[in-house]
């Protein structure tokens, strides 16, 4: 076939071919030419071909010129002696099939435009195929959805090789439709299982893609009638699974469990745990199934433990989870890095919740208070401003722990009886100790920290101090606050005259640094 080079020529040529095929069945062989252009090097030409295919098969689907039912193999039909129409339909259905395969391949095309166009074309096919099903309904009013085609789309999206985050964000638009969401969950479960089986070492990109897709799925909180369907139906039948939230939840649960069953990279664990309490646990049909995952994550240590705490809290709080040695592990989580990690606010919010019970034994609370004040010796001021009221709140809630700051007539000790290495708070002997750390922090350089630490000098006032506004305090905010603070009218000045950049002779700077 002769045609002008370049996309413009290709467009015109394809247009001609398309018209020919649609006009008469005799020209059907031109389909091969169109499909051939799909393989073109030039992305523009490919796009033209995709558009042409979209129009061609869209029209054919609407006209019902594709074979409906279980597709026999091409050779047997061609060889057989059926009618020419049936032959044509089977043949065309095969072309359609190969076109879809090609489009699925194009989802991994380097050019994003092509990818996007292929995706939208495939979704258009999904819609049309749903409306004009290519399989025979088993009974009247049976729910039909082009599962095969759709699974192919999802598989293309969850590519193990390329990062599809852009395409996935494009795909999120379709997830608003209830049926698409349901089938994505089903298909994703399938795909994850198959890919994990296929590869001995599943590549990171696949997990990232999967997580992006999975976290994009969000179920409605309450039972409501699902009505936004991508594939148009004349009427909805309540026998269909797709219209029930319960089924959606089951699918959602299956999908996440299937995903979390595999060994995930560490960074992904963090991501999953961050969204766990908020967007996964409430939608599961049986949230207690997450217990294993969360306890395992809690045992990992470090930041992951901190994050798992949130999910665990939801389970303990709402789903009656009995967690042995929970407080011991929580106690173990307290190490100096707690004050420096990103999730500090979340952790202390939860810790505050866990320790808010007044039924906790005094030794436990004392151990926490002591541990926290130990850690406070290495904390930056913004964290100190939060943790000092936190400790004071603990002492307020548990009057039995006030001996930590007020032990009249106590014997003078040679060393702190508290054992920081002991993992069990019961054996840490915190109740025998005193919070000398807070006394040391009264000499902290920041005036507010010093004042906050000085609270323990007096008998503690009864109402607790709310730490909620302090949780998210950043050093920058502290700095701004200090800057804006209005002191007395005149700024006090140094009275010893300056002599040079490094200061006087006995200054440390002058001792250890030279200007050159």
């Amino acid at each position: 076939m002769e045609r002008d080079p370049g996309p413009e020529g290709a467009r015109r040529a394809l247009g001609r071919l398309l018209e020919a095929v649609l006009a008469s069945r005799g020209e059907a062989n031109a389909v091969f030419d169109i499909l051939a252009v799909l393989q073109a090097e030039d992305p523009e030409e490919t796009q033209e071909a995709v558009r042409a295919c979209s129009r061609l098969f869209g029209a054919l689907l609407e006209r019902g010129e594709l074979f409906v039912g279980r597709l026999p193999s091409e050779d047997s039909v061609m060889a057989g002696s059926q009618g020419a129409t049936r032959k044509y339909k089977v043949w065309m259905r095969h072309r359609y099939h190969s076109c879809c395969n090609r489009l699925q391949e194009l989802l991994a095309h380097p050019s994003f435009e092509v990818k996007e166009l292929a995706l939208s074309t495939l979704m258009k096919f999904v819609q049309l195929e749903g409306a004009y099903p290519l399989e025979k309904p088993k009974w009247d009013g049976c729910y039909l959805f082009p599962r095969q085609l759709f699974k192919a789309v999802v598989e293309g999206l969850l590519s193990p090789e390329n990062d599809c985050s852009l395409l996935l964000s494009r795909f999120q638009g379709y997830l608003e439709h209830d049926d698409i969401r349901y089938h994505v969950m089903r298909a994703a479960t399938d795909v994850v299982g198959r890919v994990a089986d296929r590869y001995p070492e599943v590549p990171l990109t696949f997990w990232n893609n999967t997580f992006t897709l999975l976290s994009a799925v969000s179920l409605p909180r309450q039972e409501c009638s699902f009505s936004t369907f991508y594939v148009k139906h004349v009427e909805l039948s309540s026998t269909w699974k797709v219209v029930h939230l319960k089924e959606h939840r089951k699918a959602f649960q299956l999908m996440w469990l299937g995903f979390l069953r595999h060994k995930l990279p560490l960074s992904l664990y963090k991501k999953v745990l961050v969204v766990m309490h908020d967007s996964i646990l409430p939608h599961l049909a049986q949230p207690s199934l997450m217990i294993d995952f969360l306890t395992r994550a809690y045992d990992v240590g470090g930041a992951i433990s901190l994050l798992a705490l949130n999910g665990l809290f939801v389970l303990i709080h709402q789903h009656n989870l009995e967690y042995p040695d929970f407080y011991r592990k929580l106690y173990g989580l307290l190490d100096p890095s707690v004050f420096h990690v990103k999730y500090r606010a979340r952790f202390f919010h939860l810790a505050d919740l866990f320790l808010s019970s007044s039924h906790l034994p005094a030794y436990l609370v004392a151990a926490f208070a002591k541990r926290l004040s130990r850690l406070a010796l290495t904390a930056p001021p913004e964290a100190l401003l939060m943790v000092l009221p936190f400790i004071c709140n603990l002492l307020r809630r548990h009057p039995a722990c006030r001996v930590l700051v007020h032990r009249p007539l106590g014997p003078e000790l040679d060393a702190d009886p508290y054992d920081p290495e002991e993992e069990d708070p019961a054996k840490s002997r915190a109740l025998e100790s005193s919070l000398w750390e807070l006394q040391a922090l009264q000499r902290h350089y920041h005036p507010e920290v010093s004042q906050a630490a000085s609270v323990i000098n007096q008998a503690l006032s009864v109402p607790e101090v709310s730490i909620a506004p302090l949780l998210d305090l950043t050093a920058f905010e502290v700095f701004e606050r200090d800057l804006k603070k209005k002191g007395q009218e005149s700024v006090p000045l140094e009275f010893i005259p300056a002599q040079g950049l490094l200061g006087r002779q006995d200054d440390l700077c002058a001792q250890h640094f030279t200007l050159s």
Partner: protein
């Protein structure tokens, strides 16, 4: 009731006209007149004001009062003439009648003594002075009065009056005969007499005028003469003093002396000159005072009444000329080497002060060794006695600079001579930069100096604002210098003094500029953290700003508007910026030094610093995870930079010598050989160990010192175990560890301060001051007052209404009684008429009967 009260009040007055029986019957009231208001139930604490009353008495009093006032008015309602009784004190009740009589008599006397007529001038009482009549004294007084001569009037008056008014004709005739007897016998007519009189008086007048003119002329002449002499005197005295001395040394000197003594202002009692010790003591006292203020601020005690220190400072330090003088002298000490040359070239042009000093300097000392003693004395004078031990060490550092500039001076001579002497204060930073760029350090200093001198606040109005801006520009310039590659730290070193002086002058604007640059730095840091999750160590400018902030403001204050943010900023640098290179280590250590300098006096605890030192010590050890310490944020236990300071080269270790770290290198220059880098590493480690030692000393007294130092100790022991270090470092390690061990730990259980025991809740009644019974107690005082006034007004109003009603009743009663009276009168008259008529009739009838009888 209101009236009753008013009457009761009046009862107290002694002379009250209430002669009613009630007034006097008060002590023993008639029991039949007493009316008792029975209370239904007694209320404790309430005074029953109207329990007992005498309605009869008070009513009688009211009626009486009305008859005296209202009735009178009523009766006189149609009368237009008024009788005023002007007798003195007739109605005044607080004078006894005797007193009245006395006063009236006195007034009468006075009235008699009053002048009969205002035209009669001579009937005044004669005024005397020391027994002499004042009129006599006036006669002796020779005041020359122009027209109206009182003494003449006295003599003439008789004649004149006689002539004019003709009253004293007899008198005239009595007086004139002896005068006229000599001249003419013929009695003259009245007209002639008057003419003669006029002529005479005219002549007398003329004579008097002539005499006066003569006297005036004489005085004028005298004045003239005196003036001549005086001008002579004044001409001679000031100018030709010396010559005069030669000519007439004695009288002149004497005159001078006399005049001087006479005119000299009396010597004011002044403070005597102070001795050295006293001066030193005063200085010490001042420093002590400042130190006390600083300590108070450091402890964060109540800052309200503490505005003294800055004021004091301003009184002492902002003695404007003092500051600038000092600067000038200091400046001269730097430009010392060039002075001789400068004098030859631009001897005259330099400003007055420097010229003076120049004139002195080269005369007595040669340039070679002039630098040392001269600079020293200058520095001593401004740096204060306590610092001078620090200066000899600094001197050599400055000396090369001087020499170098004096060498290079000749090449730049033209530029030097072009340096103007006055500078307008720069309006923008670019202006300042263009002024300073391309100049040597000394020139830059001179320029800044001169900008300050030319725009001193005492010279013009807007100068204060200009200099305030200058501080900000200088600060920016310093930042630019610090970010240059290589950083020009020496210039900054000198500019710091200028910044300090400016800051002393304008603390508020200086603090806001420093705050501004600090906020900038923090913004940058925050932005980097938000964008990339982590920050990098900032440029040298931020470090320099932080250091400068600590020098300009008292770093030991508990809370200070500049220092506290600076501390937070440093804490951020130490916690948020990962140490990625050797330069970062140097910068971090510098921040540590600055941090420790800030708290050197207040000895405050810095957790971040300990963490940072721990991290530095850690990166200097080979990574085997030790026990007993945990690294926190900017450092990682393992990774790319976890062995940054580790030196494995034995040779380098052997050749290493301890030196100060170069701040300039941290700022920019890259090139460093491997050996140099290794040496820097060891130096960093040395500095770090020194800082650890310092921390140990600083925080020794903290209650949980050993807990704080535990990780450091663990790492130090590890360091000791690793014998790859040079002996000096080993020693440092050892001593730091020993210091740590020395601090004894005492764990005294914490005890809260005893708070005041809360008082038990008692059921004693709450006492409220009651202003008026029966009224609601308003919440606020104003409200109460308002209510009270409203209440009072209401009562007064009611009382007034009642009075008016009573008045009307009284009047009606009076009218009625009048009418009745009138009617009775008429009846009586009618009766009388009838009577007379009846009598008449009777008589007539009787007469008639008589007639019939007859």
């Amino acid at each position: 009731m209101g009236k009753a009260r008013a009457a009761a009040a009046r009862r107290k007055g002694p002379g009250a006209p209430a002669g009613a029986p009630g007034g006097r019957a008060r002590p023993n009231p008639n029991p039949f007149e007493v009316k008792v208001n029975r209370q239904k139930f007694p209320v404790l604490g309430r005074k029953a004001r109207h329990a007992v009353g005498q309605p009869g008495v008070s009513r009688a009093r009211a009626v009486q009062k009305r008859t005296q006032t209202l009735l009178k008015e009523y009766r006189e309602r149609d009368k237009s003439n008024i009788f005023t009784d002007k007798r003195f004190g007739e109605y005044s009740s607080n004078m006894s009648s005797e007193e009245k009589m006395v006063r009236r008599f006195a007034l009468e006397q006075q009235r008699q003594h009053e002048k009969k007529s205002i035209y009669n001038l001579n009937e005044d009482e004669e005024l005397t002075h020391c027994g002499q009549s004042l009129a006599d004294i006036e006669k002796h007084n020779d005041i020359v009065d122009s027209d109206s001569d009182p003494e003449e009037r006295g003599t003439l008056s008789a004649e004149l009056t006689a002539a004019h008014f003709g009253g004293g004709g007899g008198l005239l005739h009595k007086k004139t005969p002896p005068q006229q007897g000599g001249e003419e016998e013929k009695p003259r007519s009245r007209r002639e007499l008057i003419e003669e009189l006029i002529a005479k008086s005219k002549q007398e007048k003329r004579e008097r005028q002539a005499q006066r003119e003569g006297a005036l002329e004489l005085t004028e002449k005298l004045d003239q003469d005196w003036k001549e002499i005086q001008t002579l005197l004044t001409h001679r005295t000031p100018k030709s003093e010396n010559r005069d001395k030669k000519e007439h040394p004695k009288p002149d000197a004497y005159d001078m002396m006399v005049r001087e003594l006479g005119l000299e202002r009396k010597a004011q009692p002044s403070n005597r000159m102070k001795t050295e010790e006293e001066l030193a003591k005063e200085k010490q006292d001042r420093l002590q005072k400042l130190e006390a203020a600083r300590l108070r601020r450091m402890r964060g005690e109540d800052e309200a009444g503490d505005a003294r220190k800055p004021k004091h400072l301003s009184a002492d330090d902002l003695n404007d000329s003092f500051v600038l003088d000092k600067d000038n002298r200091r400046l001269l000490s730097y430009t010392d080497g060039k002075m001789s040359i400068k004098e030859e070239q631009s001897g005259e042009a330099s400003d007055g002060e420097s010229e003076e000093e120049q004139g002195e300097d080269p005369s007595d000392e040669d340039p070679g060794d002039s630098s040392d003693p001269e600079g020293h004395s200058d520095l001593e004078s401004d740096a204060g006695s306590e610092e001078d031990r620090g200066w000899p060490d600094r001197e050599p550092r400055q000396a090369p600079g001087k020499r170098m500039t004096s060498d290079g001076h000749k090449a730049r001579e033209p530029a030097k001579t072009e340096l103007p002497y006055t500078f307008a204060a720069p309006e923008s930073y670019e202006e300042l930069k263009s002024l300073l760029s391309g100049k040597t350090m000394e020139e830059q200093l001179v320029v800044v100096e001169r900008i300050q001198t030319c725009n001193h606040p005492s010279l013009a109005m807007g100068n204060k604002a200009k200099l305030e801006k200058l501080f900000g520009f200088l600060l920016e310039y310093v930042g630019d210098l610090a970010t240059d590659d290589p950083p020009e730290l020496r210039v900054i070193d000198k500019l710091v003094v200028q910044l300090y002086n400016l800051c002393q002058m304008f603390p508020d604007s200086a603090s806001s500029s420093i705050k501004f640059v600090l906020r900038d730095a923090m913004h940058e840091l925050e932005g980097a953290i938000e964008a990339g999750g982590r920050a990098v160590f900032p440029g040298l400018d931020v470090l320099v700003y932080l250091k400068i902030a600590g020098m300009l403001f008292p770093a030991s204050d508990f809370r200070h508007p500049v220092v506290t943010p600076a501390l937070v900023c440093m804490s951020q640098l130490l916690t948020k910026c990962p140490v990625l290179s050797l330069q970062d280590v140097v910068k971090g250590l510098f921040v540590c030094c600055v941090f420790l300098d800030y708290v050197s006096l207040s000895r405050r605890f810095i957790p971040e610093l300990i963490n940072f030192l721990l991290g530095i010590l850690y990166v200097a050890t080979p990574n085997k995870h030790g026990h007993g310490y945990t690294l926190v944020h900017p450092f990682r236990a393992s990774g790319k930079n976890s062995e940054l300071l580790l030196v494995s080269d034995q040779e380098d270790t052997a050749t290493w010598q301890r030196r100060g770290l170069s701040l300039g290198w941290a700022g920019g220059r890259k090139a460093q050989t491997k050996t140099e880098a290794n040496h820097t590493r060891l130096s960093c480690l040395a500095v770090c160990l020194a800082l650890v030692k310092r921390c140990v000393l600083l925080y020794g007294p903290l209650p949980s010192f050993h807990t704080i130092m535990r990780p450091l100790r663990a790492l130090l022991t590890e360091h000791l175990a690793d014998c790859g270090h040079p002996p000096e470092l080993q020693e440092l390690c050892q001593s730091a560890l020993a210091d740590m061990e020395k601090q004894e730990q005492c764990c005294r259980p914490l005890v809260c301060e005893k708070s005041k025991p809360l008082p038990l809740k008692l059921f004693t009644p709450r006492l409220v001051r009651v202003l008026e019974f029966g009224k609601k107690q308003g919440s606020s005082k104003e409200e109460q007052e308002r209510k009270r006034l409203i209440h009072k007004h209401k009562r007064e109003f009611k009382g007034a209404v009642r009075e008016i009603r009573r008045d009307n009743q009284f009047l009606a009663r009076m009218q009625l009684s009048e009418t009745l009276e009138r009617d009775a009168e008429r009846k009586r008259k009618v009766k009388q008429l009838f009577n007379s008529l009846a009598t008449q009739e009777g008589e007539w009838k009787a007469l008639k009967r008589k007639k019939f009888k007859k």
